[in-house]
Amino acid sequence: MTDLEKDYFEKITYRDAIRLAIHDSMLDDKNIIVMGEDVAAYGGAYGATKDLLKIFGKDRVIDTPISEPAIVGAAIGAAMTGLRPIAELMYVDFFGMSMDQIANQAAKIRYMFGGQISVPMVLRTQGGTGRSGGAQHSQSLESWIMHTPGLFLSMPSKPNDAYHLLKKALKTDNPTIFIEHKLLYNTTGPLDKKKPDENFGKAKIRMEGSDLTIISYSRMTNFAEEAAAILLNDDIRAEVIDLRTLNPLDKETIINSVNKTKRAIVVSESYYTSSVASEITSIIFENCYKTLKKPVIRYTGEDTPVPVAPNLEKAYVPTVEKIVEYSKKIVKD
């Protein structure tokens, strides 16, 4: 890994920001271990753990068998007995295999045992469309996690957030699910290690505006920003909120913004029904119904499995063009 010592990067990939966060955290805390399928010799299916084996050795960077339930379960046991494991699930879709350990064990151990013990583990995984992975390698399953009390959930969109939020997740005692996006790994942005913007649970206003609020997270934040830039041509000023973490969820920033702009679009790659977008829409309605001028728009992936064909996959998820179209409609109509 290059530039391990640098504190400031004008331009770094999301992937390298994740790698650096793991690397720097492992230097700080010798009880952090990394475990998962192909995380060591291969360097992670998406390269996020590349070179860590060379640097930290096989006691701390552990290739596991293809046993997702036991990977998560072992991370739980290690977390209960003095370590701070980072377990990796190669695809978020493998929640299907390991949901008992995630939702019935990790999420509930602290509560069931009356607060005697915490489960300070981070489960890193990645999701989303964009590589024709099909219905079992392209999903956005964050609502499964958000639906389960006890789990922290972070889905950063920028390298700087990915670095600082992951580092922060490795300090909290709450089991944290960290969902990256497969199409974000090659995106770039600045990283300032010295300016820790690590307020886990606080959303960030990416662009300020007064005409409508676009609420998003992960890759869709970038779409929202693009859309907001285009809307400026029509003199429409959109406020773009990047949630960064879904639990804790920064309701205050959402509510304050929508009360100001009186219009809202929630953009997410996940399903339309019973989703993160549904939840945020409810929050807006409950708290802003007196100020709302238009119905809240839930703009999401379709309520179907994810198709493989590139044209279908692309049409399956929100587009910048449609965000612009819907925004114009609720502002101008």
């Binding site: 339930p69 046991g77 509560y111 069931m112 009356g114 013990i117 709450n174």
Partner: protein, 340 residues
């Protein structure tokens, strides 16, 4: 007492404690003082509850299945706090929020009982990874029933134990029934030890009532695990009563139950051996039984007397203490309605 080096008196005492405790749980239920009816008693399984738990070192850790009262008690669980937990009371190990199936005591190395069959098994893999990495001479033991022998996660865990040479022991308490399904109706080939052997684990199959022998043999497996040779112990026994308190056992006949209670009772067997080998006489045994009975009565009364939690307790312990607890639904609704 003639042979002071025999462990049988102590093992008998532990088994008797387990049975008496479970009988009091049953009584607590009849009095309407338990939290619910999901109470899985280990009566008939006392040898299994005792031999491995007593063979563990003080710092060894373990997880149990839902039928884990006996194991916890044998490892040193406090009967008062256990009973209070089963009653859902404030003084219980988990403040009454875990109950019978989710009881735990980190100080004692009890990493938790589990209500998902096989759910607690991989926990010991992680614990053992910790001990190996931190160079602590501890062993972690997963207890589970014969039902979990049919769960995939057991084999994922066995493979990891073997692959990474972990200080782990898998302990199957085979009581012949998965709820109401007899083992013959759930298992293709009834050779659990062979399954474990195929993963390269040291295996021990216990299928008699000699608790002292079971203790020593279990100890061997545990000590090998401490030297990074993971093990598997199967203890065959018979669940004297139903699956849970409400189970009237329609799936098996009372003849089978009565026969098993007569022929497979580890406590009667140990009692006879104590007398036969002049380790304790009947008077001494009766006195011991009586003091256990008093102790467990006290536990039952402690549970009955322990206060209930304030309902605010619902919201504690979801997240670490530096995080705000979730707000109640009532509070949320009132906040929404208060907007002018």
């Amino acid at each position: 007492m003639t042979q002071t080096n025999s462990l049988l008196p102590d093992l008998y005492k532990t088994m008797k404690k387990v049975r008496t405790f479970e009988e009091r749980v049953s009584e607590l239920f009849i009095k309407g003082e338990t939290a619910g009816t999901m109470l899985h008693l280990s009566i008939g399984e006392e040898l299994a509850s005792t031999c491995v738990a007593k063979a563990m070192d003080e710092k060894d850790t373990f997880t149990t299945h839902h039928r884990g009262h006996g194991i916890f008690l044998a490892k040193g669980g406090n009967p008062n706090r256990m009973m209070a937990e089963i009653a859902g009371k404030k003084d219980g190990y988990c403040k009454g929020k875990g109950g019978s199936m989710h009881i735990a005591d980190m100080k004692l190395g009890h990493l938790g009982a589990n209500a998902i069959v096989g759910g607690g098994i991989p926990t010991v893999i992680g614990a053992a990874l910790s001990y190996k990495y931190l160079k602590k001479p501890q062993v972690s033991i997963a207890f589970f029933g014969d039902g979990a022998m049919q769960q995939g996660i057991l084999y994922e865990s066995m493979n990891m134990a073997s692959l990474w040479n972990l200080p782990v022991v898998f302990c199957c308490v085979n009581n012949q029934y998965g709820m109401g399904t007899k083992i013959d109706d759930a298992v293709g080939k009834k050779d659990f030890a062979a399954r474990a052997q195929s993963f390269g684990l040291n295996t021990l199959h216990i299928n008699d009532l000699d608790v002292e022998k079971a203790f020593h043999n279990s100890k061997d497996v545990i000590e090998k695990a401490r030297k990074y040779q993971p093990g598997f112990i199967e203890i065959e026994c018979y669940r004297f009563y139903g699956h849970a308190r409400m189970d009237k056992s329609p799936y098996r006949n009372s003849e089978e139950e009565l026969k098993s209670r007569k022929e497979r009772d580890p406590i009667s067997f140990a009692k006879e051996a104590l007398i036969r080998d002049n380790l304790l006489d009947l008077d001494e045994i009766n006195k011991m039984d009586e003091s256990i009975s008093v102790e467990m009565d006290e536990a039952m009364n402690y549970a009955i007397g322990s206060p209930l939690n304030d309902t605010e307790e619902i919201f504690n312990d979801v997240y670490s203490n530096d995080m705000p607890s979730p707000k109640s639904v009532d509070e949320r609704i009132k906040k929404i309605l208060s907007v002018k």
